[in-house]
Symmetry: C2
Subunit: 179 residues, 2 copies
DNA sequence: CGGTTGATGAGACCAAGTCCCATCACTTGA
DNA sequence: TCAAGTGATGGGACTTGGTCTCATCAACCG
């Protein structure tokens, strides 16, 4: 992962071949594809862990709480992975992703995956389908906004995410109807 | 596009090569890639047209109207392409997309693209950043839900989409805060 | 009628991704 | 102590998506 990020930074994603990455890491192409299902994936590790945290975060909020409270639980639970040291490469990673369509695509899929995870977890605790959809969508929006702010400003991710979600909630509540 | 959809239905997406599609269409691989930027894209034509309709739909709603009213304008404007005859293959297309990760990925990117289009158009008319984000996200959710319902039940897409957006709006407004 | 333009065919070429088999280190059990 | 098993790696053949270049061919135009 380090080798890949370095090379992408030096030469750009498209001008870097998997063989090059493997070589710099002291491995071969074969081994690369044993660890990552494709070239893109090297930039998106750790998704399973996040999915697990989301599920646990939602399961960990009291049954009586509303959908958004559960979403907040999910975001807060994710904070354990978003620590300064583990994410020192966050900005570089983000820059590479935004430089390339294939990567943006993968990112969109990952985010949609988080959204579905949240939605399904909400529905499993009895939240009506529509509310689960809406809460999940707003949760993802808050996650994106919170993540961006956290990358710039730092601080405790849980706090940042909580604030982002509250912000989004207020904005959503105050939107007026169409007619 | 017809040849591709047929072959995907018969053999599955992954077991179909671009050469096969081209052959059935009476063309060559070269020509295929002149029309579609990659294998996936054959299932996602007409996005530019939709983006144009979104922008026009938003521009066409009165300045005084709120963000969600503008989003409604966008959805309604899209209805001109969602007609029964042009979308006779909608269900088959959807089934293929959902059968494959690469395609889901592309779909997620397209949806995110629509979201960004909505968001940017809203911000251009002075909607604050946060509200534009939220309205765009809810709009995409309504689009997805409305599209799914329209595929099953048919009817006028504009009506279906309008109802879906109103539904989403009400759900969003009624979500309670986290604490 | 000669020249231009636009779409296509044809094929070389590169890189992503799959598959299979050999190798090597490490563990385990008799 | 050794043989067998296990897991990670190397290596290379092979397929296919995707790019590029050049040739061909038809329509159109002055």
């Amino acid at each position: 992962m380090r080798a890949a990020l370095d090379l992408f930074g030096e030469q750009g994603y498209e001008n870097t071949s998997v063989a090059q990455i493997a070589e710099r890491a002291g491995l071969t192409k074969s081994t690369y594809f044993r660890h990552f299902k494709d070239k893109r994936e090297v930039l998106f590790g750790g998704q399973d862990e996040l999915v697990g945290l989301i599920v646990a975060g939602i399961a960990g909020t009291p049954e009586s709480a509303g959908a958004l409270a559960a979403v907040e639980g999910a975001l807060v639970a994710m904070a354990v992975t978003f620590t300064q040291d583990r994410w020192a490469n966050g900005p570089r990673r983000l820059a590479v992703i935004e430089s390339n369509d294939e990567l943006r695509e993968r990112d969109a899929l990952k985010m949609a995956g988080f959204g579905r995870t949240i939605r399904d977890a909400l529905r499993r605790r009895g939240v009506p389908e529509l509310d689960a959809d809406v809460a999940a969508e707003l949760g993802i929006l808050a996650l994106r906004r919170g993540y961006a702010r956290w990358l710039e400003a730092g601080g405790d991710f849980a706090d940042v995410a909580r604030r982002a979600l509250e912000e989004v909630r207020i904005a959503a509540a105050s939107l007026e109807g169409a007619e």
